[in-house]
């Protein structure tokens, strides 16, 4: 049996959290922005954005586990959430 180091275990836990929780937050922000950005009647925009959100979520989860380190995964998810979140906030203020 190979024993797993605590460092490895911590990395897995951090990535899992980044994928499930961070990924959901980032997906929510991205799909909300997409819904606003689509030049369609809102019933169509909300449908397409929600349909695509699960594709986005899947890609984020896979990227979090594929990228080099847990730190990179967290930085990526957090930075894109912050950036898109800021855009969403500004768009919300203008509307």
């Amino acid at each position: 049996m190979t024993t797993l180091t605590w460092r490895y275990r911590g990395g897995v836990a951090a990535r899992t959290l980044a994928a499930v929780g961070g990924g959901y937050v980032l997906t929510s922000i991205a799909s909300a922005l997409l819904a606003i950005a689509l030049p369609l009647p809102r019933a169509d925009a909300v449908s397409i954005a929600t349909l695509l959100s699960f594709v986005i979520y899947t890609c984020i989860i896979l990227w979090v586990f594929a990228t080099g380190s847990a730190l990179r995964a967290w930085t990526g998810v957090a930075a894109s959430s912050a950036m898109l979140g800021a855009v969403l906030w500004i768009v919300g203020r203008m509307a």
Binding site: A35, V46, S47, A49, S53, L62
Partner: protein
């Protein structure tokens, strides 16, 4: 994760699959059965079989007229009437109604009342059929596969949704990690232990890959506005109901005028719809019957489009004049409905439906072989420990036990549900709940016994029991009803679902029986080999 993309994806595939596979087995089996939920319900109500034997001699327009006449006597002041007319999948006329809710009635009470507000007509005579036994039939299995049971539907839907998301991740990462996807499809190396399970897992997964990917994604889409509310929040704020009314175009609800007006004859409306669609309506909904604001809505039968929202034709119930229906949907709304429609497959003709069923079974096999593969692989790490008389790790033991409880135990639970339907007294109180309880009693016992002794012998016992219970259903049916295979195979087309049900459960039972036999033979061979090699040692317990 520390290595290349393929290795990290293999890791994601293993763990996202393993963590939810036992729940996915339940969802896959329940959902696969749900493709035939009407047929299962019909099988579970043997009192209706007699009426379905002879082919229907009345036209849909006449059926509707018959049912409306009966409804006028039974529920002239109802909120709405619902009629399901005979078609290929349904040999009888089903009618039900909703009453204006009484003050202080809880949701449960309203639902209980609704379950009593229905009747079934024999399309041959127009007479009411014998009252069927109280059962939820295939509806229980359908609901089970996304609502679960013994918890609120919302909880069940979140749990199943999260499991489905894991499954989606498992499928995509599984494809990425799989470099020989085409070649492996043609590769099967039987009787080679781990390699064989891997090949079986690859074959069942790759064979029906488009189906697995489709059914998982579209399954999430059926409840997508609940799982991902952010886009709705962004465009509609807190007015979620406005979104629903815009995305799901229903004919607008008309309030009753509280003024009596005799209901127009429905027969000419059905004939007109049949002329336009080339097929008779399958469903008639009458809202505010006998009121000046009565509306009659006819639904086109499924089978001509992917979308699950069938076109309707609306008539003024007082004057009989046709009204303009809901406006046609935009392309993206139609696309959403088509993606939803792909999941529920109302459009499928008998052959395509059978193909969906087989793909569902392949999905079940994919999940099962994947779960087994983990156990087999992990066990190898303990090969030396076991050889020296030690025990396998806690994780392997737990997974083995869960595998037995789910893969061998669930067929027992399904069979127990059908046995309970035939054996519980017809007049029993709370009969529908008792049937469902037997599903979980059987499953619970199987899972518990598997936890106590997760051995190869347990595999064989449970597989054999499941095989006997499933294959025994046609026999049970022969002893408890008049519509056994000897009758149904030679009866009218209305009895075909009953015959098919018996034959399919028999075939599934034989399949499980074969698995049990194969396991037994393998155990014997290994025992003989071990004894020859080392007569003093007991053969170690090992799962398949």
């Amino acid at each position: 994760m520390k290595d290349g993309l393929r290795q990290s994806m293999a890791w994601v595939h293993t763990w996202s699959g393993l963590l939810v596979c036992w729940l996915l087995l339940l969802v896959f089996m329940g959902g696969t059965a749900a493709y035939y939920k009407h047929e299962i319900t019909f099988w579970m109500k043997p009192e209706l079989h007699k009426a379905a034997d002879a082919p229907s001699r009345v036209t849909p327009a006449e059926s509707a007229t018959l049912a409306v006449r009966e409804l006028q006597q039974r529920a002239p002041k109802a909120n709405a009437w619902f009629l399901d007319l005979p078609n290929e999948r349904n040999p009888l006329i089903y009618a039900s109604w909703t009453n204006p809710p009484k003050k202080g009635m809880s949701r449960e009470e309203r639902r209980a009342a609704f379950r009593t507000q229905n009747f079934t007509l024999d399309p041959l005579t127009g007479e009411k059929t014998a009252a069927p036994r109280d059962t939820r039939g295939g509806e229980f299995l359908y609901r089970l596969h996304f609502d679960l049971y013994y918890m609120s539907a919302i909880w069940g839907r979140w749990i199943v949704g999260i499991a489905a998301m894991f499954m989606l991740v498992a499928i995509v990462s599984g494809v990425i990690t799989h470099k020989r996807i085409f070649k492996d499809f043609f590769t099967f190396r039987p009787k080679k232990g781990q390699r064989s399970w891997l090949d079986a897992h690859n074959a069942t997964a790759v064979l029906a890959l488009p189906f697995h990917l489709m059914i998982t994604y579209t399954g999430i889409v059926t409840l997508m506005f609940m799982y991902m509310p952010a886009p709705t929040k962004a465009l509609y704020g807190s007015e979620q109901n406005t979104m629903f009314s815009e995305v799901f175009p229903n004919a607008e609800r008309v309030k009753p005028a509280k003024q009596f007006a005799p209901l127009a004859d429905v027969a000419p409306m059905l004939l007109q719809a049949e002329r336009v669609w080339g097929a008779a309506p399958s469903r008639v909904v009458v809202t505010n019957p006998n009121d000046a604001n009565a509306r009659i809505e006819l639904h086109r039968p499924a089978g001509q489009q992917l979308s699950n929202i069938e076109p309707t034709m609306t008539f003024d119930g007082a004057s009989g004049a046709q009204l303009s229906g809901p406006k046609p949907m935009s392309t993206s709304l139609d696309a959403r409905a088509a993606i939803y429609g792909l999941h529920v497959a109302h459009f499928a003709d008998p052959l395509l439906r059978a193909l969906f069923f087989v793909c569902g079974l392949a999905g079940t096999a994919m999940v099962a072989t994947g779960a087994l593969l983990w156990g087999v692989k992990e066990r190898q790490k303990y090969a030396k420990v076991v050889a020296n008389g030690g025990k396998v790790g806690f994780g392997v033991r737990l997974v083995d036990a869960l595998n037995i409880g789910a893969i061998a135990g669930l067929p027992i639970a399904f069979a127990a549900y059908f046995w309970a339907n035939r054996l519980l007294p017809v007049e029993m109180a709370e009969r529908t709940n008792a049937e469902a309880n037997w599903f979980f009693i059987a499953w619970g016992l199987a899972a518990l016994l598997a936890q106590i002794r997760p051995t190869r012998a347990m595999w064989r016992i449970q597989l054999t029991l499941g095989a006997a219970m499933l294959a025994g259903i046609p026999l049970l049916n022969a002893f408890t009803t008049d519509t056994h295979l000897g009758v149904t195979l030679f009866g009218g087309p209305g009895l075909r679902p009953v015959a098919t049900f018996d034959l399919v459960v028999l075939a599934l039972g034989l399949l499980l029986g074969w698995a049990a036999w194969w396991l037994g033979r393998k155990a014997k061979k290994q025992a003989v080999a071990k004894q020859q090699a080392n007569p003093a040692q007991q053969p170690p317990l090992e799962a398949a």
